[in-house]
Symmetry: C2
Subunit: 361 residues, 2 copies
């Protein structure tokens, strides 16, 4: 069992990583306050894991209620959030309850915002079941729902009390979802860790084959990398923006295409290639590294260009609503070399459009 | 001009109290970051003050947008909140914008939650225009919207950067709204300050006549009392609960009657009388003090019993959803003497029902 601490003073919390956690006989998450919890999950995950998790919690004497939401990014909305509040109130959950997110990034983000907002804040535990949520969205306290005009535009910084990662969940994860998680993994390597990028080039097939040791190492490394960034910049005032490589382009794709049609990781993969081409055009990135990144994304089963039906000019209006925009000026995360990135404020709109076209070529 | 500081470390902020602030030539609120702001107000307040406030801000070079919501507690909802997000996104407001609440408690609570949640938090300024919001809801960082199953159930602790109180707003405030504010003022006196209670007994007519000196002193004193409590217990873990005298009963009235039919202060006034009767029944409160409180509330034009159409038994289900409930146990704020109150966990349901009936007698 691996344990990583996200160091945030009184808001510090552990990430526990192991296989078989749902089946273990010992209680594995600390419900130290109150005696009730609300499990938030979706209709894909519920048949697979809900009974196991609920039974385990009930054995420890906790009153458990549940709310099962429809699966999909298009349901990460204020309307669906309200269903969680209604369930909490209908079952008279008080301020000492715990909300447990059992699912992928959509469930984690939405349940996390519910926990941040219900009675102005209740205890929250993340149980991520997808690769993407295990390496990224469950760690760091960013919660949100989408708005029709922009992704993750409504939310809160709200840290969980604990993150519990059962590696066995990956056995039931659809391949396309697995690839989507690999996009965020490759992102960490590009922005923070050249050695990890090399490791991924060597071990990608082992990951795709769900080889347990490779998976455990890879997920732990990503959680470590993210925990370090979050510890320095919890509220996204500086370095944390680097984690957004490819996301300004990617969120534009997700919003334009309709939430759920392009998976988050797919949009981020295409967005990373666009960012890489932008920086190559600035003469600051080696062609050989462009090709290494492209090759790794392709091996991971990810797109390296945007949707055909989306014109390059259609990106800009969405990108201008990015949360990194300050006083109407776009800011982009751009890699410097593999293993290092920075936030760039002086990217011209022409350059953005050209970088999108480069990927289509 | 009066200035009070709410002392909360890096989240400290000033409350500025004076007449004529909207008409003054000098800028009166510090828009120190960014160059845009969104004014959130309602259709009653907009014709009265929106132009003056907007013109003033535009003179200082700030880009101003506005969203005008319908007036009333029934619009303090997730649906109306979404209108604010849509307005912010449609006008491409970025994370360095400022949301300014111009209105009463409904506008302040809703705009405050919008500020807490938009892009996970933007700058927020309170410009309260009602007596109730000036003495209570604009200070202390509690933001929220209502849910059909419970008042203020969805929200955040989110401190404003500044609170700006123009006493001239009270000249246009309907008398019923003014009385509603007096309920919270009387509440501060009962729970925290016996001398202030005596002052109110002496000066109530001066307040009702909008005598400027009396108003300025009264509002400043309430802001001081609240700021002291909030400084000790920002996140409502202990002493801050005392500010809820009458609110557990009162929220039940507001929810049962339909938001907006009983004004918040009216419900709190009736709720305070119920709490007073509960503690009198426990043999811990003098009959003479019961009569003093009742007399002051009546002079202020406030109800001293609940709605006739609401049976005493109808209160309990709503009261059990109160945010002070822990592990299914009701907690009530009860006065000890005039000027002192405490949180009581051992009030039987029978006693609650009896205290409601006492008020109807």
């Amino acid at each position: 069992m691996e344990k990583i601490i996200v160091t945030l003073g009184e808001r510090s919390y552990p990430i526990t990583i192991a296989a078989g956690l749902f089946n273990d006989q010992t209680p594995f998450w600390p419900l130290t306050c109150g005696d009730s919890a609300m499990l938030v999950t979706n209709d894909l995950i519920a048949p697979l894991y809900l009974d196991a998790v609920r039974d385990k919690l009930m054995k420890s004497g906790v009153k458990i209620d549940q709310v099962i939401l429809p699966d999909g990014e298009q349901y990460k909305s204020l309307t669906v959030l309200d269903q969680v509040f209604s369930a909490l109130l209908a079952q008279s959950h008080s301020r000492d309850t715990t909300i447990i997110a059992l699912g992928g990034g959509v469930i984690g983000d939405l349940a996390g915002f519910a926990a941040a907002s219900y009675q102005r804040g209740v205890r929250f535990i993340q149980v991520p079941t997808t690769l993407l949520s295990q390496v990224d969205s469950s760690v760091g306290g960013k919660t949100a729902v989408n708005h029709p005009l922009g992704k993750n535009m409504i939310g809160a910084f709200y840290q969980p009390a604990s993150v519990v990662i059962d590696l066995d969940c990956l056995n039931t994860l659809p391949r396309r979802e697995f690839s989507s998680g690999l996009a965020e993994i490759i992102k960490y390597a590009i922005i923070l860790d050249a050695a990890f990028f090399k490791w991924l080039e060597t071990h990608l097939e082992a990951l795709l084959a769900l080889e347990p040791r490779a998976l455990a190492y890879c997920i732990r490394r990503c959680c470590e990398l993210k925990a370090n960034v979050v510890a320095i910049d919890e509220r996204d005032q500086g370095q944390r923006a680097l984690l957004n490589l490819g996301h300004t382009y990617g969120h534009a794709i997700e919003t334009y295409m309709g939430y759920g049609n392009w998976l988050h990781g797919e949009a981020v993969a295409a967005g990373m290639m666009m960012a890489v081409h932008a920086v190559r055009r600035l003469g600051q990135f080696r062609n050989a590294d462009v090709e290494r990144i492209k090759a790794l994304l392709l091996r991971a089963g990810l797109p390296v260009s945007g949707p055909e039906e989306m014109a390059p000019e259609a990106y800009l209006p969405h990108m201008m609503r990015d949360k990194k925009v300050i006083s109407g000026r776009l800011r982009l995360v751009l890699p410097v070399v593999i293993g290092k990135a920075e936030v760039c404020t002086n990217v011209a709109n022409d350059m953005v459009v050209a970088s999108i076209k480069d990927c289509q070529a």
